[in-house]
Symmetry: C2
Subunit: 326 residues, 2 copies
């Protein structure tokens, strides 16, 4: 896994991925007490950065692998990213999803042409199910994060951040990334180490699912106590990956841990001030930027808003509870 | 008023305006039965295209005019656009707003440093109030639409649409624009006539406030029967302007008229499929693209999503009522 793979993925994604905007608002700057730049990956195809990794992995398959079809396991964003990228490549896709995934994510994955198989997040091992089905049907497994071509695809976000930070005259800043298994976090870290060494990546995680923060502190891979029970369904992966963790250990600053209330309030702030829709798991980085300013150095901070696939009822509740997010 | 003024405004806006993305979703294409491209001006600074016109007008003032300050009347989006552009230029701003403007727009206009004066939309004439105050205090009036430098600023949206349509291989399409007084509509029409003559602008208006559609049909400026009573507060201007109407008459196709239900449903669809926040007055063009396909020709349509300044309570109600917008 290296920077050259990110550059190669970037070439394969050219013309297919959306270069998402870097947004800002003087109102958010006032809340945070410094400039806040928000990389709006919720505006990516399928509503999250996962399309990048899906496209990168599928576009790198051999013709034989493409003909055989792909399989992925995911709570919903990787599912949609892989399903859409597969459809655009004319490749069939089987997606294994937790039975409690948000309805919108399940519906979308099916509507994008994928076959969906469910598992129980609390009692079943999705890796084992995925491995068995992929052997049985001759499918190529596209892992959600611990897979070099997926990390390379997510890392293209970092190339854009480097360019957009320069456009905004930001040379030194923390780059906060909503972190599950670390595919996006490690990919961005590799890209920034090469292109913008003054930008330091830091993972942001929900309280109770701070495996990456704890792993960075202890120096070894730590595991969450539970595998369900957070509203941040997109990023409650049990632990960082065998490939992603060493990269994060080498390149990332300390993790940030967010309460559910701060996360939901950040969704309201993004609604009011940026006019974008964030899902809870896509809002933890912005929550850290806005409501934990004492944990962040410098005059500017960059938050990656990773996804927006949230059910309408939940979003409505968040707005009613938190208003403008001030 | 001519194309060269739009090019000049574009040069003054360079580095200050946000080049907003052209978004799309296969789900929206399915609803409309053709490709739908959405120009997301809700992601512009201050949450609407109005920042373009505000910046264009203020950047074109003489040093003496800048020192004297500016005045504007607006239901809220022009107010914020002018207030923010004025603040960035170090110019003081007085904004005249209807007393029933959305709270968010009033709060934001004040927070951006402007002084706010209210009037009654049903009984008072905002033009008369604006003219009197501007004389009394020596302020330069920045009209909301019937002002060449404002039209030139809004027209820069059309330059971007021309380039983005080409990137998307769209040569012939209707370009639907949410229309109040016609500043944005006429500006985009002028830009596209010069840069992408296969793209035809059509105004989209709320039912009961279809002054521009009727004016285009009758060949003379028609006036709405009422001046309040629509949820689309941003675009219930009484009639097209003396400058904007002749441009629209020459360059635009027939108007489209949208029900409140279709408009609110389009807000839900934009939430679910594009992850953007639209206000009612910013969603009528998308509503036409999605739910009136029989009134639109061709394989593709472009809808300009003009603004996203909607109160959280209203947006929550829309989501609860219309779900995914399918």
């Amino acid at each position: 896994m290296n920077f050259e793979m990110i550059q190669a993925a970037n070439a394969r994604l050219d013309g297919h991925v959306r270069r998402t905007p870097m947004l800002s608002s003087p109102f958010l700057d006032d809340i945070a007490g410094r400039r806040v730049l928000v990389k709006a990956e919720c505006l990516q195809h399928t509503g999250s950065f996962k399309f990048r990794g899906g496209w990168s992995a599928i576009s790198a398959l051999t013709p034989e692998q493409k003909q055989g079809g792909v399989i992925a396991f995911s709570s919903g964003n990787h599912a949609q990213g892989v399903a859409y990228a597969a459809r655009e490549h004319g490749v069939s896709a089987l997606i294994i999803m937790p039975a409690d995934a948000p309805k919108l994510k399940i519906d979308n994955t099916r509507a994008l042409g994928a076959e969906v198989v469910f598992y129980d997040r609390a009692t079943e091992d999705r890796d084992a199910i995925g491995t068995a089905l992929s052997r049985e049907r001759g499918l190529t497994l596209i892992k959600p994060f611990d897979e070099p071509q997926v990390i390379a695809g997510q890392g293209t976000t970092g190339l854009e951040i480097a360019a957009q930070a320069e456009e905004n005259n930001v040379e030194n800043a923390d780059v906060l990334v909503c972190c599950g298994g670390g595919g996006l976090t490690s990919g961005i870290a590799l890209a920034l180490a090469a292109k913008a060494p003054g930008l330091r990546v830091r993972p942001a995680e929900p309280s109770g699912f701070d495996d990456t923060a704890r792993s960075l502190t202890s120096g070894q891979i730590e595991v969450n106590a539970t595998t369900s029970g957070s509203i941040c369904d997109a990023i409650i992966t049990p632990s960082p990956g065998q490939i992603t963790f060493p990269i994060m250990q080498k390149l990332c600053g300390p993790g940030l841990i967010l309460s559910e209330d701060d996360t939901l309030r950040a969704m309201a702030a993004a609604f009011t001030r940026l006019k974008i829709v964030l899902e809870p798991g896509g809002a933890v980085a912005l929550a850290a930027a806005l409501y934990h300013p004492q944990d962040i150095p410098g005059d500017a901070v960059i938050a990656v808003a990773t996804g927006g696939n949230v059910d309408a009822e939940i979003f409505a509740q968040v707005l009613q509870r938190f208003g403008t997010g001030n």
